[in-house]
C-alpha cells in the first residue's frame, strides 16, 4: 500500500518540462527510517547529507496504535532541526487518537513539506503521549534532486559560466628583491657593516702600521697556503709510495719456484770448421759504405770533382 502511494507521488512529481538527462531533476524515496524499537533515527543513516540540491518533499509514515478504547493518546512524528540550522522541529505531525478509536487501527499519512533542503533536517523520532504505544512503524522520505542547483554542475545548466582559471599574479619583488630593505627573510648586504676606512683619514704612522699588518697577514696567508700545498704534496707522495709498495708486493713466487727436472743437458750443435770467413756479401756492403763515406768527406772539403 505504501509502495503504491510512493509510486503515485513519484508520478505526480514527474517533471513535465524538457531537460537533458544529465541535468533533469530526479526523484526518489528512502527506505524505512525506523530500524528498531527505539522509534528514533539518525537522518545521516537515512539520507546522507552532501548531495547539493537535494530537497525533501514529503514524509510518509504509518503505524498501528495500541491503546485502550477509552484512552486519549497523542502521537508525534517529528524531525528536529539539524545542528546549527535552527531550534525545535523542522517537521512535526500530531495524531490524536481520541476515545473511541480502536487498538490496532493503522494510520498511513503522507505529509507534504514543500522542498526543504536536506541540510536542515536533523534526527527524527516518534513520541507517544498518553497511555498507549505504537507498533509496526515506518517513516519514509521522498526527495527531489536538482543537479542544476549548482549551475556549474553541467554546461547545460541555466546560468552556467565558462570557468576561467584563476591565475595568481605573483610579484617577483615579493619573492626576492635584491635591493629591498627591511626584509628579514633575505640575506642582505649592508655596506655599512663592512669596515670602510678611508685611507685618506689615516695618519702616516697608522697607514704604515696598517700596511705592515696587511703585509704580515699576506705573509701568513702565503705561509699557510704553502703549508697546505706542502701537506697536499706530502699526502700525494705518501699515496704514491703506498701504491708502489702495493704494486711491488705482488706474489710472484708461483712463477719462480718452478722445478725443472734434473740431469745433464749436453750441447746438441757441433761446429766442424775452425775458421769462419767473412761473408763476401758483407764485404761488398762494407766497401760500399766506405766509399760512400769517403765521398761524403770529400764533398766537405770540395775534393769531389
Amino acid at each position: 500500500m505504501q509502495k503504491k502511494l510512493l509510486l503515485l507521488l513519484a508520478l505526480g512529481f514527474w517533471p513535465s518540462y524538457s531537460y537533458s538527462d544529465s541535468i533533469a531533476p530526479y526523484y526518489g524515496y528512502t527506505g524505512n527510517a525506523i530500524t528498531d524499537q527505539s522509534l528514533r533515527w539518525s537522518m545521516g543513516n537515512v539520507l546522507p547529507d552532501g548531495t547539493p540540491g537535494l530537497d525533501i518533499q514529503n514524509v510518509i509514515y504509518g503505524y498501528k496504535i495500541q491503546k485502550e478504547t477509552g484512552e486519549w493518546v497523542t502521537v508525534y512524528v517529528q524531525n528536529e532541526f539539524a545542528e546549527g540550522a535552527g531550534e525545535g522541529y523542522i517537521f512535526r505531525e500530531r495524531d490524536d487518537w481520541k476515545p473511541g478509536s480502536l487498538a490496532g487501527t493503522e494510520i498511513l499519512k503522507a505529509v507534504p513539506v514543500g522542498n526543504l533542503p536536506r541540510a536542515l533536517w536533523g534526527d527524527g523520532s516518534i513520541e507517544v503521549e498518553g497511555n498507549g504505544s505504537v507498533t509496526d512503524a515506518s517513516v519514509v522520505y521522498t526527495y527531489k534532486v536538482t543537479p542544476c542547483f549548482d549551475p556549474q554542475f553541467d554546461p547545460n545548466c541555466p546560468g552556467y559560466k565558462q570557468p576561467v582559471p584563476e591565475i595568481y599574479e605573483v610579484d617577483l619583488g615579493d619573492v626576492y628583491d635584491a635591493v629591498a630593505e627591511g626584509d628579514s627573510d633575505q640575506l642582505q648586504w649592508d655596506p655599512n657593516e663592512d669596515e670602510q676606512i678611508d685611507d685618506e683619514e689615516l695618519s702616516e704612522e697608522e697607514l704604515a702600521e696598517k700596511e705592515a699588518e696587511e703585509e704580515k697577514n699576506r705573509e701568513e696567508r702565503q705561509e699557510e697556503a704553502l703549508f697546505e700545498a706542502g701537506r697536499a704534496e706530502l699526502f700525494a707522495m705518501a699515496l704514491s709510495a703506498a701504491q708502489l709498495k702495493d704494486a711491488t708486493q705482488i706474489n710472484i713466487r708461483s712463477y719462480t719456484q718452478r722445478t725443472i727436472p734434473g740431469g745433464v743437458y749436453n750441447d746438441t750443435a757441433v761446429l766442424v770448421d775452425n775458421d769462419l770467413p767473412d761473408a763476401k756479401s758483407g764485404l761488398r756492403n762494407g766497401l760500399a759504405q766506405q766509399l760512400l763515406h769517403q765521398q761524403m768527406v770529400a764533398m766537405q772539403y770540395n775534393l769531389t770533382k
Partner: protein, 173 residues
Amino acid sequence: MLNKNITTLGVAAAILLSAQSGIAQANETPINGTVQSRCIIQTDTAGTFGNPNAYTLTTASADGGENAVIRIDVTLANSYYAEITAPSEFSSSPTLPDQVTWTGDTEVKTVSDSTTMGAYESGKVELGMMDRYDLTATGSTWFKTSSVATMGGNKAFPGGNYTALVQADCIAK
C-alpha cells in the same frame, strides 16, 4: 376598383403574415456538466479464500486466506456514507451440492488521519452483512473485509474456482 383590389390584397397578405408569425417555435439547448465524485472507491487488495477443510472457505490469514481491502478516498467531508457488504454468495463457482452459510465482517484497517477518522470503526452501524460508516472527514480510509463460507451438511466444496464479491458503495447523505 384597382385601388380596392390592391387594398384587399394587402389586407390578405397582412393576415397571412400575421398567421405565419403566430405559429409556435420550440428549441431545446442542452446544458452539459460532469460531476466528479468526491468519493472514490478502489480495490487495494483482492482477497483470497483459504481452504482449511473440505467444507470451509475463509479469508483468515491463519487458514491461508487474505482479507479483501477496499480504499475509499473522500474529498468532501461529511457528505457520504460508505456501505460495505461482505459477500453472501459466490459470483462464480462450480455447482454446489448444498446451501452455503456465509459470515463476514468489515473493519477499518487504516486511516489517513487519526484525529478525524480514528473513531470510524467504533461509530459504524452494522446491518447484517453490511457495515455503514459515516465519512465525516476528508482523506483516505482502508477497509478490510473478511468472509467465511461453510458448505451445508459438512459437505465438501467441489473442486474449481470460487469468486465472491465485496460490495462497496458511497451513499450521498
